[in-house]
């Protein structure tokens, strides 16, 4: 399989690569240039008067990694990204499996329901969760109405609230790679496992699960990087209590106007995301070899 794919790419040859020029240009302007910009900025000195002075210094990184406040934000970001990934995987795998295997007439509708959240904005969906989870929100009203709690539970502005909203918002990014990996499996493989003596559970563990690994890795890489860089959802759901790296960069850039420190934070964030992608590609390559 892998060799076939390589041949197709090679057949595209030079003229095939030419088609990549527009996207290469876009990446240069929208990705490489800004990253280079803040890479440089992150080692400049902050100045309250001139914003920055072009003197090379390590003080931004020293401050970021040195004080407990910023360290906590980094740890929290990684923790929430990891938990969101696990949450999406736990909810998304059964859903993707069902979508890939069902012959039901409802499949089309279910696929639509998975995509539907992508059609409304992140902000709209986040406000939806605020309405549900707030202290005067639907869930607290019901809990109090039933007499299960005396005072409203604090759900909004907790890590749990951020987690719930992120899992909901990012679920499609997990479901679709998983669906593609599962739907692409030859159904005869599971049949072969059955005839050789494997029950449903063994067949899943020995055949279905390992073969869906590319989907698991792809979905996890997407969800993890998107969570780690999320700004709006953590800001609205977590408020001031649950700070993550995204908001921190936003505030340092827009309100505090400490661009060198903002750049250093951005650098750490991008580093985390690249680390995840690296793990993804390395494990993908190991499988192909």
């Amino acid at each position: 399989m892998a060799t076939e794919r390589r041949e197709v790419v090679e057949a595209g040859g030079r003229s095939g690569r030419l088609w990549l020029a527009p996207i290469a240009l876009l990446y240069l302007i929208a990705l490489i240039a800004p990253i280079s910009f803040f890479l440089v900025m992150s080692v400049f000195r902050y100045s309250a008067l001139e914003l920055w002075v072009p003197t090379v210094t390590g003080e931004n990184f020293a401050r970021l990694l040195g004080d407990a406040y910023h360290r906590a934000i980094i740890v929290r970001t990684l923790k929430i990204a990891l938990l969101t990934t696990i949450g999406c995987l736990a909810l998304g795998y059964p859903l993707a499996w069902y979508l890939a295997r069902t012959a039901s007439a409802w499949r089309g509708l279910l696929m639509f329901l998975v995509i539907a959240p992508l059609m409304t904005g992140v902000i709209v969906r986040t406000y939806g969760w605020i309405v549900l989870l707030g202290s005067e929100g639907t869930i607290n009203t019901i809990l109090r109405g039933l007499g299960l709690v005396d005072r409203p539970l604090k759900i909004l502005h907790t890590e749990l609230a951020v987690l719930i909203a992120l899992v909901h918002i990012l679920l499609p990014y997990m479901v679709f790679p998983l669906f593609a990996a599962l739907a692409g499996q030859d159904p005869d493989l599971e049949r072969a496992a059955h005839t050789l003596g494997a029950g449903r559970a063994r067949t899943f563990l020995e055949v279905t699960l390992p073969l869906s690994r590319p989907g698991i890795l792809m979905g996890s890489a997407l969800v993890f990087t998107l969570t780690a860089g999320a700004v709006v959802t953590p800001a609205l759901m977590g408020g001031k209590d649950v700070r993550m790296l995204g908001q921190t960069i936003y505030e340092l850039t827009m309100s505090t106007l400490n661009w060198p420190l903002a750049s250093a934070v951005a650098f750490v964030l991008v580093l985390c995301q690249f680390a995840i992608l690296l793990v993804y590609f390395r494990s993908g390559r190991r499988r192909a070899a």
Binding site: R191, H194, T195, L196, G197, A198, E206, L211
Partner: protein, 364 residues
Amino acid sequence: MAKTILELQGVVKRYGATLGVGPVDVDVREGEFLTLLGPSGCGKTTTLHVVAGLLFPDQGRVVLGARDITRLDPQNRDMGLVFQNYALFPHKTVFDNVAFGLRMRRTPRAEIAGRVRRVLDMVGLPGVEARLPGQLSGGQRQRVALARALVIEPTVLLLDEPLSNLDAVLRKRMRLDLRELQQHLGIATIFVTHDQDEAFEISDRVVLLNRGRVEQVGTPEELYDDPATRFAAEFIGETNLIEGVVAAAAGAIVTVDTSVGARYEAFAPGRSLRGGDPVYVMIRPERIDLVPERPAGGVAMPATVSKRVFAGDVITFELRTEHGLLLRCSKPSVAEYRALAPGAPVWAVVRDCRALPRDGDGEA
């Protein structure tokens, strides 16, 4: 006659409202090579999946030995199935693929290693244990799939068109290898194919399926010489069919009047045809002699060669008789027949023919 070890009794499988197969009755005897033959969509693979337990029938029973296994899960059936596309696990090495069935049976590790090696030797593929299926050729994959099915020592070996993805030369060789291996192991085998040559070359008996039903069961000779229906006659080999009506019946010999002048003495064993029954007279192309002069007896028709197709060892002629009947006739590629060109006058002598019932439902 060998004992029956597997039996399908009145098996019916529906897909929604549409009928997949059935009712189908098939029996497999000990050590037998049985082929399910038929055009695509005739229900051969469905039938095989019912045997393997991958599909449960809507009606009927599957009996293995004396045991009803109709509702038994596939993992408890001990049947080795080789898939058309082999269905090797792409993420497991050849060793792990072959060892899979043994691991599921909790065979001790040391024993697994030995059995995997022996079965790979047996299928003629030693030394590939560490490779992944993607690194093997089509023929090698086919052998690994066979090894994986055989290593569990199945009670019945099921083969779903296992040769159809191989090129012509390899297919012929694998066919013979497969037959030899099957006879060596003495394992009852059900083989599915749409290729009549393959079925005939390899099988003890053939089950001819059409539109989910059994059209005929018999040895290759029985199916070729004495097809039970028009479908059977046309699906297997080349044939000439002439519509007629039984004029007189005397035991297995019937006299048939046809619309094209001639009166045939046809053989119809076990058919109990009676005067007035509509029938086909079936004449195989190689059972027609071509002679230059009117022969003394038998059914002979003056005809003209209208077409001649040279295929190396055989020449196929299309003859037009004076009554306008078209007959296909095949002759060995020797001087006397090579000389016959289109337009040449000949006498066509029907050496033997069969009568088979014509009910109007035999349309292929």
